[in-house]
Symmetry: C2
């Protein structure tokens, strides 16, 4: 049985954008009016339905993505954990941002009215999933979870790299919609296997007046096309596009002097080649001190890359973009190839590590296991180079106490470039939690004021509304004096726990 | 003595955008690093310096704006109150949005790193003040106050409608910058009296790569031009443009049946003609029940408008746009002129009240004392018309308990159209507080996710950054375990008061 909330499955001749957006607009009125508990229960139920179909979903995702089963199983857990985290956020209700400035009838020269504020959902959201996370950043991934949590109906444009996985997840979500008795337009899934027609489908979705926000994870070109389409609408809407990042890593001298250089280099190559390097947080650029310890690091990293065998990439076009991208890197001014691994068969190109004298020609993201190393003599040489970089998702620093002075100078520079700064680790592996930021200045994302991972993401699909002297009889429940939902509220500017 | 932080005064042949933005970018590093107390003290000092020059500022503003002295004096108080409110917000520190997910070293299969989040300021902000609020929405108005509070240096493009007022306020702000020992680039003021060159100046300011956000209050055309310029930058930036709104008012039958109809009509005309109608919250569109009580309301409102004398408008071009806008309204299909007041001399055109059969041709904002009345028989006739409206700053409902059922149906429709809903009052007069929203869906603003009045406005100039396993020695002070600033923090998702 195909759930009613899936507007167009793989077999549909022409996925119907208007039908999906009309249904979503209709669903919005009742979906946004759910109590926090009811909406949270629905999010939990979505996770449960996905888990019920786990075996089938994992099988499809492994086949379609060529990613290992353990990774896919982990991703299902991550997607479900994410939905449940947002259920917890919704139950707590802090995202409603309730503020009350009580009336001051005696104030002179004019009395102050009673003013109350809450956040309301923006409206139907279009979600474009990523190729590289068929579960956690796709059909029921982070954007879908945060939009549903905020109270927005969601329309997913299925990714052509994993159509069946997307479809199966959509079936599970649709079942949760139906069992909860929600309007079928609360969630829709549109699939178009022809990639040219798929781009058209995406554009008409973003241009549809009933869509009020867009979540996207993918390439810079794809993201910017949606940003442009949204800006050209009669009513412009926010587009949250997570696009490209080369995630600079800085090794400070202390980390080489005091650490195990070979282990550090091996760990770096582990992060670089993980999942065939197909992570938005892949460490594509590494700044390494000149000198003997740096040489040893580079030799060890080169050996590890040289010994690495390419893993199958997600799609033929991603593999071919990797091939041409790495070839272009080798042609950049003054570049030396440190090491190339071996191919792992069809669609599994060789990992590559190069050394470049400067940033010229090596700062464009090459999606895959491609590393660029740039050497430096001092922090004074390093800082201007970091300042030259475009916006990034992450920056990583390897340092010991001996590097504290340099690290303190790095931090304010990196803060203005990235969404997340991490020390003595690797950027791949993004925790789903309350403090995470997976975002950053353009072109890492199209909107640095938010995150696509972590509970703060719920705020991107909301806007504030003020209610002035609205009678208790019609005041939204969350704003009432008796605080029936037990919300944390800001009274006259001061936070009051329930 | 001209403070150094004023880059180009009225006498400058060519206000220097590059000099101002370079200085702002330099100032950013130290300004954003101030402790909350130091930044709050600076905001208080700005208010103090403006008050010290109050007499001179009021004289200039009355002469330039033609607004009454009492109104201008009130606006100085409002602008200073606003700065002090933001000082309080900064001292409290909740805007830093600190979130900590502590490390879980024992977690299986992988330990969880320590992740901390805070909001940081975006960078230098360009502020374009409004003609109609020479103090509260101009040089040291809401946008300047919230940007400075967030930690962003500000560059104000002085408004040609009140150059001297702007200059005098800038001198006061500059004095506060100097006395606090801040970098002079923390605040700059650029003035260009030639209006064509002024538009160029504004465009080059928005295009400057060192500018990271824009605040604007003014016309739809002006706002959209800045939005377009910002979107075309290599690095797009947020533009917060507060543009146009006709602020629908709905009178429900109970309010006519139980209230003093004549007093209600007089109060409406009072709000409509206040300050020559030059408020972004001016009630330009009123929905009135058909029938006898509605007739009485309309007759009384017509009498009040007919008796009203035009007050001088801010500029000759605003007065002439009002003349042509009201003439166009009279030409809209089926329009009947209910009343016209009399001219109050040069640049003081007559207030006007018309009745229209439908929305066709009457929904474009006419800045000034121009009212449109549309009659309705039932809530079922009214709701689709409200749904047809563009986004608005406010919606007003006049209702009694007898109208509760209708009011309850109105609320969810209005919520999706506006930033503020008010009952039994008038939209002019915007409280500066913690719960206020002065914003709303496009085209009321270019970004509905925020407000330009009230303490929430500080958030528009910030973005989140996560710090993963960053050593205590280099961790920003506000994120340290010992919580030296006594901040409210979200620990593992749960708010903890200090």
């Amino acid at each position: 049985m195909e759930p009613r909330s899936i507007i167009a499955g793989a077999e549909a001749a022409q996925p119907d954008v208007a039908a999906a957006t009309t249904a979503a607009a209709e669903a919005f009125a009742t979906y946004r009016a759910l109590t926090p508990d009811a909406r949270a229960d629905f999010l939990d139920a979505v996770a449960g339905e996905i888990e019920a179909d786990r075996e089938e979903i994992v099988r499809a995702a492994v086949a379609e993505s060529r990613l290992p089963e353990a990774r896919i199983t982990g991703e299902v857990a991550r997607a479900c954990g994410q939905l449940r985290m947002f259920a917890g956020v919704v139950r707590r209700g802090d995202h409603l941002g309730v503020r009350i400035d009580p009336a001051l009838p005696e104030r002179a020269p004019l009395p102050r009215p009673d003013i109350r504020q809450r956040q309301i959902p923006l409206g139907p959201v279009a979600v474009f999933g990523a190729s590289n996370f068929p579960l956690a950043f796709s059909t029921a991934g982070g954007d879908t979870a945060s939009a549903l949590a905020a109270g927005c109906p969601v329309i997913v444009k299925g990714h052509p790299a994993h159509p069946l996985t997307g479809y199966l997840v959509a079936v599970a979500v649709g079942r949760a919609v139906e069992k909860a008795g929600l309007h079928p337009g609360t969630f829709s899934f549109l699939l178009e296997l022809d990639s040219a027609r798929g781009i058209e489908l995406g554009q008409s979705l973003v241009r549809d007046p009933r869509i009020k926000a867009v979540g996207f994870t993918g390439s810079r070109g794809g993201g910017l096309a949606l940003v442009a389409a949204a800006a050209q609408r009669p009513e412009p809407i926010p587009v949250y596009a997570e696009m490209s990042s080369i995630n600079p890593v800085v090794i400070l001298p202390g980390a080489l002097a005091e650490g195990d250089v070979e282990a550090l280099a091996t760990a770096y190559v582990g992060s670089l080649t993980l999942g065939a390097g197909q992570f938005c947080t892949n460490p594509g650029l590494l700044f390494l001190p000149r000198g003997e310890a740096g040489e040893r690091f580079l030799a060890a990293a080169g050996a590890a890359v040289g010994a690495a065998v390419g893993a199958p990439m997600l799609t033929p076009s991603i593999a071919s973009a990797y091939q041409s991208g790495t070839a272009e890197l080798r042609e950049a001014p003054g570049v030396r190839v440190v090491a190339q691994g071996s191919e792992g068969g069809e669609q599994a190109p060789a990992p590559q590590l190069i050394e470049a004298p400067a940033l010229d020609g090596v700062t464009e993201e090459v999606f895959g296991a491609s590393g660029v190393v740039i050497r430096f003599d001092s922090i004074d040489e390093l800082l201007p180079r970091l300042e030259q970089l475009e916006g990034q998702l992450t920056a990583t620093v390897h340092a010991t106490d001996a590097d504290a002075a340099d690290a303190a100078r790095l931090l304010p520079v990196l803060e203005l470039k990235v969404g997340r700064i991490l020390f003595n680790g690797w950027p791949t592996g993004v925790e789903v939690g309350h403090a995470m930021v997976h975002g950053g200045p353009f072109p890492a994302t199209s909107d640095s004021r938010t995150t696509s991972v972590g509970s703060l993401a719920i705020e991107r699909f909301q806007r504030p509304v003020a209610y002035q002297d609205v009678p208790a009889a019609v005041l939204p429940e969350g704003l009432r004096d008796d605080n029936p939902w037990g919300l944390t509220r800001r009274i006259d500017g001061e936070l009051r726990l329930p």
